[in-house]
């Protein structure tokens, strides 16, 4: 059978162009049409029940009382406020955040009620410290100390090594977080001559076994322990620093302000140290966190820094 013989039985709209060009009128399936109408009805009901239409500076808020959402919001000053609003995605998110905070609360309470040692002995609590601490650290500490706590040379100390400028016990770390720190070193450009600066720098390098000029270092030793420069007053006669004031231990391999490890040649290492003694340093600032974090958050962070990052000593 050929296609030509088939009669067109489909309804047309009656429009004819170019003598024989007709517009067929194929009605949509009934189920489709009904589905279409149902979406209209659905939209109308939705507009009534939920916030939908923008009107100038405001909008329709749905049927009040039907889909209200209540949540607790924490204001900037730390006070809490219970809010009830019409249904919206943000308030739903707030409700979920409230629920999650409530789930976290027993763990925070447990951390707050136990001693540092007891927290670190409790394997399940330490698991919470590991994950909640990571979040707190990422939100508050990572901008300076970096995501893994590895710090940044000439900027923020490494929290994963065993050197603690202000002490690495739980109490020391907690004090540092609560009250902040303000590390500085005076400039010696007006006190020491260029030759003296070189000598004392050679001495400092010799303390940690870096390549140095032994003769110059010997002279530097005298300057270090002499009253003109008075380096020993802060760094100690044994040059091991003082955690009470945060002066650096010059005898270990760890450097924060001069990049001695990164400098490859002895000359570059010398320049690093000398530049610091010449100009001093005034940016060892750790902010105060007691006004921004809650005591239990600070306590958890202390355990995180001490146990998860690798404090101690």
């Amino acid at each position: 059978m050929s296609q030509d013989n088939k009669k067109v039985t489909v309804e047309t709209t009656g429009h004819v162009w170019d003598d024989d060009l007709q517009e067929l009128n194929n009605p949509l399936p009934r189920w489709w049409i009904w589905g279409f109408y149902i979406t209209f009805t659905f939209a109308l009901v939705y507009w009534l029940f939920y916030p939908a239409w923008p009107i100038g500076h405001t909008y329709t808020k749905g049927v009040s009382g039907l889909n209200n959402v209540t949540y607790v919001a924490t204001k900037v000053d730390g006070t809490q406020e219970t809010k009830t609003t019409h249904w919206n995605m943000r308030s739903k998110l707030m409700v979920e955040m409230n629920e999650l905070k409530a789930e976290q609360k027993p763990f925070f309470d447990k951390v707050a009620s136990k001693s540092f040692e007891d927290v670190s002995k409790d394997p399940e609590l330490m698991q919470f410290v590991n994950s909640a601490g990571k979040t707190l650290f990422s939100d508050n500490c990572a901008p300076c100390h970096q995501a893994g706590g590895q710090g940044k040379i000439k900027f923020a100390p490494n929290l994963t090594d065993d050197h603690w400028q202000y002490g690495g016990t739980y109490e020391n770390i907690e004090t540092t977080i609560i009250a902040g720190r303000n590390g500085m070193m005076p400039a010696f450009k007006a006190i020491l001559s260029d030759a003296e600066l070189t000598q004392v720098s050679q001495y400092v390098l010799s303390l940690s076994g870096e390549p140095h000029n032994a003769a110059a270092a010997k002279l530097g030793d005298a300057i270090f322990h002499g009253d003109k420069a008075g380096c020993y007053a802060c760094h100690g006669a044994d040059a091991k620093g003082n955690i009470a004031m945060g002066s650096a231990n010059l005898t270990d391999k760890i450097w924060l302000w001069p990049d001695v490890i990164g400098a490859k040649t002895p000359e570059a290492k010398l320049t690093e140290v000398k530049t610091l003694i010449y100009g001093g340093m005034n940016k060892g600032v750790m902010p105060v966190w007691s006004t921004r974090l809650k005591p239990e958050q600070i306590k958890l962070l202390t355990v995180y820094v001490h146990d998860s990052l690798g404090g101690g000593k």
């Binding site: 670190s120 394997p123 590991n130 590895q150 090594d161 065993d162 270990d252 391999k253 146990d307 690798g310």
Partner: protein
Amino acid sequence: MSDQAENSLYQKHIPIVTRSVKGQFRTFKTAVMLLAYSVYFLLPWMPWQRVSAASQAILFDLTSRRFFIFDLIVYPQDIFWLAMLLFIAAALLFFVTGLVGRAWCGYFCFQTLWSDLFIQIEHLIQGERPARLRLQKQAWNLEKVFKIGLSHALMILVSFWTAVTFACYFSYAPTFVLDFFNGTGVSGGYFAVLVLTVLTYMAGGVAREQICLYACPYARFQGVMYEADTLAVTYDAKRGEGLKGRTIPIQGLKTHEERTAAGHGDCIDCGFCVQVCPTGIDIRNGLQYQCISCGLCIDACDNIMDSVGYPRGLIRFDSERNMARETPQAPKVMWKRFKVLGYASALLLMTSVLFYNIGTRSDTEVNVQQVRQPLYVMLSDGSFRNRYLIHIVNKAESDEIYAIDVEGISPRSLDMRFFKAVSIKAGKGLNMNAVVNLSAEDASKIDTFNFVITRASTKEVMKVKTNFNSPREHD
């Protein structure tokens, strides 16, 4: 192809009203159905002693992300068992289909089982085929409303219980059912039961064979697995049609001898084979994709052959090759074929691998992850520190103590703080910080070492090889 078929892409559904039948295949079908339903509906109620979860023999616990299958506990990380299981299911389907055709479709498929049950409900309420046809043509009077309403109400009830049972596999059945009917169950439970009730009723009660004809992919691709030796439901056309075709036993064509003499075959064209077919086809037109291979037409024909005194087997399970023979032999399962043996060996191999794998599974899972921020730390004395996160999962049904040690470096280099030995609860995992310090000299020589985790109760030892990073000359 007819004009009508060409004009319409939509096939109007002609309701299939099947006649009930007795016979060996019907008995087998009923037996499978009884067994399958008893397992499906009763299994969630089977108790099983457990420590870390509800006492239910089969429990797919989504909240704790564990599947409990009797004494086997399946964790998400055992997902490859599912891959093996799917492979085994596929190989089994190929193997069976290659041997005896679509046995899955005819006797075991859920669609077939539930459709069959719903047809039997109709039969129970509305009577045999002629009565049901009469009822369909009848005007909507009280009797019709009652009978059709009751049978559909029963189908919905069965669908509902099917759905509730399904949900019971994912939750502790007694509390789930109690909470469900008290109105205190979780919303997800109600939603699942609603959706499954509707789907079961729609598929088994309304769509029925249309699922097999239009929706099911297996129905279509199983045809590919048929070979010349595969047993399929076959109408013996040579015997049935004779020389002059089939005919009803009118006067003078009643006995076998009369029919043979007149050149007519054994088929008396009673139409019973068509009336009993759940997909509404006429098997005498040959093998068709609609045939689910349930064998009910064989039962129907055998009964008729018995009553008219002709030999059985006008319709039978037989192979294409056998039918093509001059004198067909007795049909038998031809398993000595390359494909069938191939499927069988794949099936056997994979099943033994799966069982071996499950049998030798460890109750402990250890995972060591290196902390990469920073990769290493130089300490004040010039030695190097690497840090690790150790994750131990205790899959056993009892609390366990694990001791953590190292191999390949000095035991003193490992600092686990308070967790050299740690207790982990049944079915739980634990993350621990591990610190390893190596002197500069050791660090320059050592690239890798092992963490050694010992399970206290069984002395089972697990070693995890891991890297130690430190700056090197070539860095």
